[in-house]
């Protein structure tokens, strides 16, 4: 099911062309996510890694296009299913994988894990495991930017299921009230855990909700690189210009279970067929070829990413575990006495 880009103020909008360098940037981010994800799944499958991991298979492109529209120092607030967001935003793979593997060298010294990645150097400020909680927090970063006049934009990612929780509502209303430089990126993958979209709300489209706050909302095919990038860039431009928040509903699919290893037999076969047809990775490859990149060039990029990834895994799995006394550190500024 392809999605026409539509906003809640105008009708359908036309997709513009894209600069080749930007497209390559999006491609590189997307493939970095994709290679990472495949690697994670193989490490988990083989037992080299044992942890909870929420695969983003099917959502690689949405976020790569979004992050390609941001600066390194713009802020990101994301969720447990956020490894694509973090990688696309720039978190180094070695620190990220070390964190997922619970090593002392991880971004958070192994204390946070995959659900709680933080890496301020690349603007990854908060990763939450509680559905919907990132939205109010994102407002806080945007509010800080507004007060400081630092020109930064905050993006917060969340799922379709998250739009039914109270925090979504409160945050949307406040963001519009204060005209905050924040972008609400709903990655509508059509499922919240085991519950299909139509079973969690009677509204057709999340973007409809933007009007309930007087906010600009845009619905877009998150598997269409050009449309997704255009929508993302427009939202960033608005936010930076002080014109306030945007709700983006990026349609995509969760191509696997809720977390790695989880059953997804509750997905009907038609849904599975539909999502396979919309896989963003082959579509993006085709788009690259259409834009005069050769398969050889693309393969070389992927090979470079593979090398980086191998080194990162090597680093992570050979890193030490944290010391037990870390549980007394970082509770408060001052260490807790033993």
């Amino acid at each position: 099911m392809t999605t026409k880009t539509a906003t809640n103020d105008t009708a359908t909008i036309e997709t513009a062309s894209i600069d080749r360098a930007k497209l390559l940037d999006i491609y590189t981010r997307t493939m970095k996510v994709a290679r990472f994800d495949e690697k994670m799944r193989s490490l988990l499958m083989s037992g080299k890694l044992a942890t909870i991991y929420y695969t983003m298979r099917g959502q690689e492109l949405v976020t790569s296009a979004m992050m390609a529209a941001l600066n390194q120092d713009d802020y990101l607030v994301t969720t447990y299913r956020g490894q694509h967001d973090q990688i696309a935003k720039g978190v180094p793979l070695d620190l990220l994988i070390a964190e997922i593997a619970g090593r002392a060298t991880g971004t958070c010294k192994g204390k946070g894990g995959s659900m709680h990645i933080t890496h301020p150097a690349t603007g990854v400020m908060v990763t939450t495991g509680v559905v919907g909680s990132g939205l109010p927090i994102a407002n806080g970063f945007a509010l800080a930017s507004q007060n400081r006049g630092d020109g930064k934009v905050t993006v917060t990612c969340f799922g379709d299921g998250a739009t039914n929780i109270g925090a979504f509502h409160e945050a949307m209303n406040m963001a519009q009230l204060y005209k905050l430089p924040v972008i609400f990126l709903c990655q509508n993958n059509r499922y919240g855990e085991h519950t299909a979209f139509a079973d969690h709300t009677k509204v057709d489209s999340i973007v409809t909700r933007a009007a309930a706050y007087g906010m600009k909302g845009v619905k877009v095919d998150g598997n269409d690189a050009l449309a997704m990038y255009q929508v993302a860039q427009a939202a960033v431009d608005r936010a930076r210009a002080g014109e306030g928040p945007t709700l983006i509903e990026a349609m995509c699919y969760r191509m696997m279970g809720h977390f790695f290893g989880a059953d997804f037999s509750y997905m009907p076969p038609e849904h599975i067929a539909e999502m396979k047809a919309e896989d963003p990775l082959p579509k993006l490859n085709t788009l690259m070829l259409e834009h005069q990149f050769t398969q050889g060039e693309l393969d070389a990029i992927v090979a470079g990413l593979e090398a980086e990834l191998e080194a990162a895994v090597e680093f992570a799995l050979n890193s030490p575990f944290p010391d037990a006394d870390e549980i007394r550190k970082d509770v408060f500024e001052e260490e807790i006495a033993a």
Partner: protein, 354 residues
């Protein structure tokens, strides 16, 4: 309650907890099966019993942990309602339905998510009976699960029973084994006041002998799961297993440990606890929740108040470390109370010179 009664209630209620391997083999069930069966039986017995929670119906596979598997097929989607991710709405709907006379069960997928529903639980479920002067009541069960040791990290592992114990109007229950899970769930559903029913993910696969249909474990009654004479070890939930292990080890070293499984955390069976400690003169309280300001502080305080002159040593408390639950396995293991700590606490009480 006298000591004799305590023993008797143990004999009546205490399930097979694995400490009696010489019993004849009965049919075994896991805690997941026990909970599923309890819900099934309760729904068959009373059509006012309903369940609301995320992913609980057949279309979603009967719940993330399969506790409600098969139930919506049997009782329909009006009684087993899969909900949006809206814990306030879940809890509020259950409060309203309970006041209207149904017996709803609200499933909060993991205990940390009660934090988005505290208003409904604390300001409403707990207080409506009192604030209405007894005109209404809230026969509601709030089922939730949690547990340290599976690497779920800081926002998916907390044990928050001490919060609820501090709120007048709420009862709190937790099973340490499958049979109790079944019996406590039936009693919780039949209770005319709100009950927080805490499960531990790490116990879901644990097996007990099937206690059979219509089994009940009464609320407010502890089980003396192992008798002893030197020191009383009071605990609940998953750590009952650790307690029994340590008691077994120490028995070989000549220390006789009585282990009490509270089963109802609050209001707890103070008679059984006090009687035991009066007998042993020593006590250790153990829970997985953060030690500081945990339920152990209340239990220890009441023991000191009631038995100050009789105690041979101050009551020792063991609980989780004072930090968020860390993700890395090494840190999680450093965080969680362990058997060495239990042994050391018991030794402290044994070696105390007053």
């Amino acid at each position: 309650m006298s000591e004799a009664q305590t023993r008797q209630s143990q004999t009546l209620d205490a399930p097979d907890n694995g400490a009696q391997p010489d019993k004849p083999k009965a049919k075994q069930i896991t805690m997941v099966q026990a909970l599923n069966a309890a819900l099934d039986e309760a729904m068959a017995a009373d059509e006012g019993v309903i369940l609301l929670g995320e992913d609980v119906a057949a279309k979603q596979g009967g719940g993330v942990f399969k506790i409600s598997a098969g139930l919506s097929e049997k009782y329909g989607e009006n009684r087993i309602r899969a909900t949006p991710i809206s814990e306030q709405a879940i809890m509020g709907a259950c409060v309203g339905a309970a006041v209207a006379g149904l017996r709803p069960i609200a499933e909060i997928m993991l205990m940390n998510f009660v934090t988005v529903a505290m208003d409904q639980i604390v300001n409403h479920a707990a207080k409506l009976r009192f604030m209405s002067g007894g005109q209404t009541n809230v026969p509601l069960v709030i089922r939730t699960t949690t547990g340290v040791g599976v690497g779920f990290g800081g926002q998916h592992s907390d044990m928050l029973e001490a919060w609820f114990a501090h709120v007048p109007g709420l009862k709190i229950v937790t099973p340490s084994n499958a049979a109790d899970a079944k019996g406590l769930m039936r009693s919780a559903i039949e209770c005319n006041d709100p009950v927080i029913f805490i499960e531990n993910i790490l116990c879901y696969g644990m097996k007990s002998d099937d206690p059979g249909v219509d089994y009940r474990v009464p609320l407010g009654k502890a089980a003396v799961v192992r008798e002893g004479s030197d020191v009383t070890l009071i605990t609940y939930g998953r750590t009952v297993l650790d307690a029994l292990d340590v008691a077994g080890q120490l028995a070989e070293q000549g220390i006789s440990v009585e282990v009490i499984d509270l089963r109802t955390i609050a209001p707890y069976d103070e008679a059984t606890v006090t009687a035991s400690v009066r007998k042993t003169g020593r006590a250790v309280v153990l829970h997985e929740a953060v030690r500081a300001y945990g339920t152990g502080a209340e239990i220890a305080s009441r023991l000191h108040e009631a038995l100050f002159n009789e105690l041979k040593a101050p009551v020792q408390r063991i609980g989780g470390a004072f930090s968020a639950v860390p993700m890395a396995s090494v840190l999680e293991q450093a965080w969680i109370p362990n058997k060495d700590q239990i042994t050391a606490a018991i030794r402290t009480t044994m070696e105390w010179k007053r």
